[in-house]
Amino acid sequence: MRVALFLTCVNDTLYPDTGRAVVKLLTRLGVDVDFPMGQTCCGQAHYNTGYRHEAEPLARQFSDVFREYEAIVTPSGSCGAMVRELYPRMGERARAEGRGDTLARTLAPVVPKTYELTEFLVDVLGVTDVGAYYPHTVTYHPTCHGLRGLGLGERPRRLLQAVKGLELRELPGADECCGFGGTFAVKNSDVSAAMGADKVRNAESTGADVLCAADNSCLMHIGGTMTRLRTGMRPVHIAEILASTEEEPLG
Amino acid sequence: MSSRELILGRVRRALADVQPDDTPYEQAVPRGYLREHGDLSVEETVELLAENLADYRAIVHRTDTAGLAGTIAGLLAAHGSSTVLVPPGLPQEWLAATETARVADRVESTPDELDQVDSVITACALAIAETGTIVLDGSPDQGRRRITLVPDHHICVVRVPDQVVSSVPQALERLDPTRPLTWISGPSATSDIELDRVEGVHGPRTLEVVLVAPSVD
C-alpha cells in the first residue's frame, strides 16, 4: 500500500520527531510511506481565521500533491478535519458564489482517503496493538477536531491501552477544549490561557508524567502552559508513544 | 409602504435562492423519531406517570372511584383548607365527603379574591407518563386557567388509565389547540439560582395528583 505522510506545516517545522515517529511506526507495520516534498500546509489557519480565498490555492496544492496516493495519513486531528470536513465545504461555497464545480472537483479525490493517524491504524490497518513499549504514566487529552470533527472516539485510547508498560490515567474534563484554537490563542489570549491553565491543572491532578494528544498544535499550547506553570509534566504526541519500542525507546 | 409589506418584501428578497419547487412541508421533515419511548403495558404507563410526577415533587395519591371523595376530603383536611375553588363542571360526587366551603369559578372574581382561597380542585384533559405532566384545557371540570394558578394548593384528579398517554406526540394528537392549555409538571419551580432547581415560586407550591382508577365491583 502506497501511503503518503501529510505531516502538516507545524510538525514539519517544529515537531520533526513526530514525523520520524510516524515513519518508524508505519514502516514497522509494513506500510510503504512516502513524504511528497511538494507538501506544505492544508490552509486551515487561513480558513478558520476568515481567509477562505487564501486557503483555496493551498487546498488545490494539497490535492495536486496527494491525489495519486492510495491513502494520506496525518498525525493531526485538526488538519485531518480540515481536509475531510472543510474541503467539501469550500467546494460548495465556491459553487454558491457562481464559480462553478472546479474547486469541488479538484478537492474531491483527496477527501475520502485522508486519515488521521489513529483512524488509519485502527480502521485501515485493523490494529490496536502496534507492539509499542512506553513505561510511563500517561493521560490522554482528546483534541476537539479529532473528537468532534473526525469522531475519533475510542481509537486513540484503545491504541494507548495496548501499549506495554503504559499506565493510562483518566483526564477529568477530558472533552473540554484546551484553549488553543489557532489564532484564538492570540486574539483572545486571556481566555485561551485560562482554558489552558484549567486543562493543565486537570492533567496534573491525574498524577501522570505525560499528557498525550494526537495534535501538536494543542500540545504546543498545553506544553507551553506546563513549562510556564512549572508542572513537571511533558506533552507527547501519540505517534511518539506508539513508535516507541523496548529496543528503541523514545521520550 | 406598511411595515408588513416592507418585512414580507425583505423576506422574499432574502429567499431569492429558494426554488419554487422547493420540497413541500409534508416531505421536508422526516419524522423518524418515536411516537412513544419503550413498549410499556397500560399498568406500566400509569406507574411511570406516578414515578415521574413524584420525581418533580408532585404528591401522588392512588385510589378508585369509590374512594375518591374520601381521598379528596382527606387531602383538604390535611392541608387545613377552609375554602376550595370548584370549576362548574366538576363531578359533584367528588366533593361528597368534604365540608370545606366551595368557591365557584366566576368571571367576576378578582385575582385578590382568588388569592384568599386555600385550595383548588380540578380534573384534567390528559396526563403524559414520560414527562410526568398533566394538561388542563379549560373544560368545565377544569375551569379558567387562573383558578389553578393563584391558590397555593392544587388537587388534580386524573382518571387512569383512560386519561393517560405515554408521550408528548400522543398528547398533542389528543389536545385541541383552540382551547387555552396549561401543561403542568410538578409544582412551580425555578433554576434561576445557580442553575439548580428549587420548587415553589409563583404557581401553587403544593401539587397533589390523584390517580383514580375505576372501582372493581
Binding site: 477562505r52 488553543f180 489552558g196 507551553g224 | 418585512i7 425583505r10 429567499l15 423519531y33 409563583h202
Partner: protein, 501 residues
C-alpha cells in the same frame, strides 16, 4: 438592541476583566458544570434524540425557506382567533407600537414574562421614557432589574450572581420597587424564591397589562406557546385584561404537530428537565362567556435584523435557534469570559453568531464576536436544532476580515474589510505565498533552525499575547523535510532516531 449595550468594548478587552474576576469565574463554573451533567443525562434518556434533533432542524429550515407564506398564514390564524397582529421593522417601531398599545389601556405599569425579544429591542427603557413601569417577573430577570445589572445568560440572566449576592440585592433593593424583602432573609435558594413570590404577588394581582414573548407560534392554528418554570408566565398570560406578545418573525412553526418535537427537545436542552413545570398555549382570545384570560390580545412581529440574517445562505441557520442556551452552558469561552463580555442580550456561542448578523459587524464589539471562540464544536454538538455555530463563526470572520456581500435593512451591500485587520490580511497573504512555494517554506524553516539558539522562549510586541502565559516551543535542529531528504526517509544511516529537542 438594548441601549445598555451601546459602546461595549471588543470581546477580548471585556473578557480580560472577567477572566480575572474570581467570584464570577467561580459562579459560572459552578452553574455551567451543574447543568452540563444534568443535560447530558436528560438527553441520554431519549433513544431518538438524533432523530428529534434532525426533525427540529428541518422544521425550522423549511419554515425559514417559506417564511413569507407562514407569516401571512399566522397573521390570518391569529386574527381569526380574535387577536390583532402588528408588524415592526426594527426595535424603535416595535417599542412605539407597544408603548401606544399600553397607553391606549390607560395603564402606567405592565408585568413582563421573560422575553429575549423585548430585551433585544430595549422595551423596558422605551416604556420608562414614557412613564410606564415595566416589572420583570422572572426570578433571574428580577435579580437583574433590581441589581441595575445586565443579563448575562439567555435562560438564567443572573447566572453571574451567586446566592449570597442575590440575597444582598433583594435585601437592599426590593423596598425601592414594592414589598421589601423579609426580615432576616438568608441565602437559601428556597427563601430567595419565597421572597420573590411575596414581592411580585401584589404586582401580578393588580396588573391590567401583560407583556410577553413566545417560544413558538403555530402558523396553522394561530397558537402561541410560552415555556416557563416559575408560574410568573402564567400570571402574566392569564390575569391581565390585555396581553401584548412581542415575538421575532423566526419563531414560527408550520403546524401544531411540530410542537411534538420542540416540547421534547427544548426542556431537556435548557433546564435538563423532562418537562418544564409550566407550558401555556393560547390561541387569540376566548369568547366573553368563557372569559378565560385576557380579553384583548396583540401580537407584535419584529424583524430587527432577522430578514438580513435570512438573506445569508450560511448565516441564516442561526434563525433556527430556540433559545435553549445549551450552547452557553457547554462553552469553555463563555464559562471563562461570562455573558457580559459578549455585549449583547444574546451571549455565548449563539450570541457570537446572532448579534453580528442582527446588528451588523460595524461596531468594535460585533466585529470581535466571531473570534470569541476556539471553534471546539461543543456548541454544535449539543444544539437541539443542529446549528453549526463554528461554520457560521468562520463565515462571519470572513465577512469581518475580507468584507464582501451582506444585507443591511433589506438592501444588498458590499462590506469593506473591518479596520484593524490590514496587518493580519498582509500576513495571511504572505504566508499563503510562502506555503504555495515549498522552496520558500524550506528556506524559512532552515533560517529558523540555524538561528535557533538565539530564539527566546517568550516574545515582545504582539507576540506577547502568546508568551504572556505560555512558553514557545524550541525550534528543532532541522525540519522534518531536511531529515527526510538527508536520510532518504530514514532508510540510510543518518535515519537513526535522534533527539533534537
Amino acid at each position: 438592541m438594548s441601549g445598555t449595550f451601546v459602546g461595549m468594548p471588543a470581546f477580548p478587552k471585556a473578557a480580560h476583566e472577567a477572566v480575572h474576576n474570581t467570584t464570577l469565574r467561580g459562579n459560572l463554573r459552578h452553574a455551567t458544570h451543574t447543568i452540563r451533567g444534568k443535560r447530558a443525562k436528560a438527553v441520554m434518556e431519549m433513544s431518538d434524540w438524533a432523530e428529534l434533533r434532525d426533525a427540529g432542524k428541518r422544521i425550522k429550515d423549511h419554515t425559514l425557506r417559506h417564511l413569507d407564506r407562514y407569516l401571512v398564514q399566522l397573521e390570518e390564524s391569529v386574527t381569526a382567533a380574535g387577536g390583532t397582529v402588528h408588524w415592526a421593522a426594527d426595535a424603535d417601531e416595535a417599542n412605539r407600537i407597544v408603548t401606544y398599545l399600553v397607553k391606549a389601556t390607560g395603564e402606567s405599569e405592565v408585568v413582563k414574562v421573560k422575553s429575549m425579544a423585548t430585551q433585544e429591542i430595549g422595551l423596558n427603557e422605551a416604556l420608562e421614557a414614557e412613564d410606564i413601569h415595566a416589572y420583570e417577573t422572572d426570578l433571574a430577570e428580577l435579580i437583574v432589574q433590581l441589581g441595575k445589572d445586565r443579563p448575562s445568560h439567555i435562560l438564567v440572566p443572573a447566572i453571574h450572581r451567586n446566592r449570597g449576592e442575590i440575597r444582598d440585592i433583594f435585601a437592599r433593593e426590593m423596598s425601592e420597587w414594592g414589598r421589601p424583602a423579609p426580615e432576616g432573609l438568608t441565602d437559601s435558594p428556597a427563601e430567595l424564591a419565597e421572597a420573590a413570590r411575596l414581592h411580585l404577588r401584589e404586582k401580578f394581582l393588580r396588573a391590567k397589562v401583560g407583556v410577553s414573548g413566545a417560544n413558538f407560534m403555530v402558523a396553522d392554528t394561530g397558537t402561541l406557546v410560552v415555556v416557563e418554570s416559575e408560574g410568573n408566565g402564567r400570571m402574566c398570560l392569564t390575569l391581565p385584561e390585555t396581553l401584548i406578545s412581542v415575538v421575532g418573525i423566526e419563531k414560527i412553526v408550520p403546524t401544531w404537530q411540530d410542537l411534538e418535537v420542540f416540547l421534547q427537545t427544548l426542556p431537556r436542552s435548557s433546564t435538563a428537565e423532562r418537562m418544564n413545570p409550566y407550558t401555556s398555549t393560547w390561541t387569540g382570545t376566548t369568547d366573553s362567556e368563557t372569559a378565560d384570560g385576557p380579553s384583548t390580545f396583540h401580537l407584535v412581529l419584529i424583524d430587527n435584523g432577522r430578514t438580513d440574517t435570512l438573506a445569508d445562505e450560511v448565516g441564516r441557520q442561526a434563525l433556527r435557534c430556540i433559545r435553549c442556551s445549551a450552547c452557553l452552558n457547554v462553552c469553555p469561552v463563555y464559562e471563562r469570559a461570562g455573558g457580559h463580555a459578549y455585549g449583547s442580550v444574546y451571549p455565548g456561542p449563539i450570541g457570537a453568531i446572532l448579534s453580528p448578523q442582527l446588528r451588523g459587524t460595524a461596531s468594535e464589539i460585533d466585529a470581535s464576536l466571531p473570534y470569541a471562540s476556539s471553534l471546539c464544536g461543543a456548541c454544535y454538538e449539543v444544539c437541539p436544532v443542529a446549528i453549526d455555530i463554528p461554520e457560521v463563526l468562520v463565515h462571519l470572520r470572513e465577512r469581518v476580515a475580507q468584507g464582501g456581500p451582506a444585507t443591511e435593512k433589506g438592501n444588498k451591500v458590499v462590506l469593506k474589510p473591518a479596520k484593524g485587520h490590514a496587518a493580519e490580511r498582509a500576513a495571511m497573504r504572505a504566508a499563503r505565498w510562502a506555503l504555495s512555494h515549498p522552496g520558500a517554506l524550506r528556506t524559512g524553516q532552515r533560517l529558523a533552525s540555524r538561528t535557533r539558539r538565539l530564539h527566546p522562549r517568550t516574545l515582545p510586541g504582539p507576540g506577547k499575547a502568546w508568551s504572556a502565559s505560555r512558553d514557545l516551543p524550541a525550534v528543532p535542529a532541522e525540519p522534518f523535510r531536511d531529515w527526510w531528504q538527508r536520510t532518504n526517509g530514514g532508510r540510510t544511516n543518518g535515519g537513526k532516531q535522534e533527539g533534537t529537542k
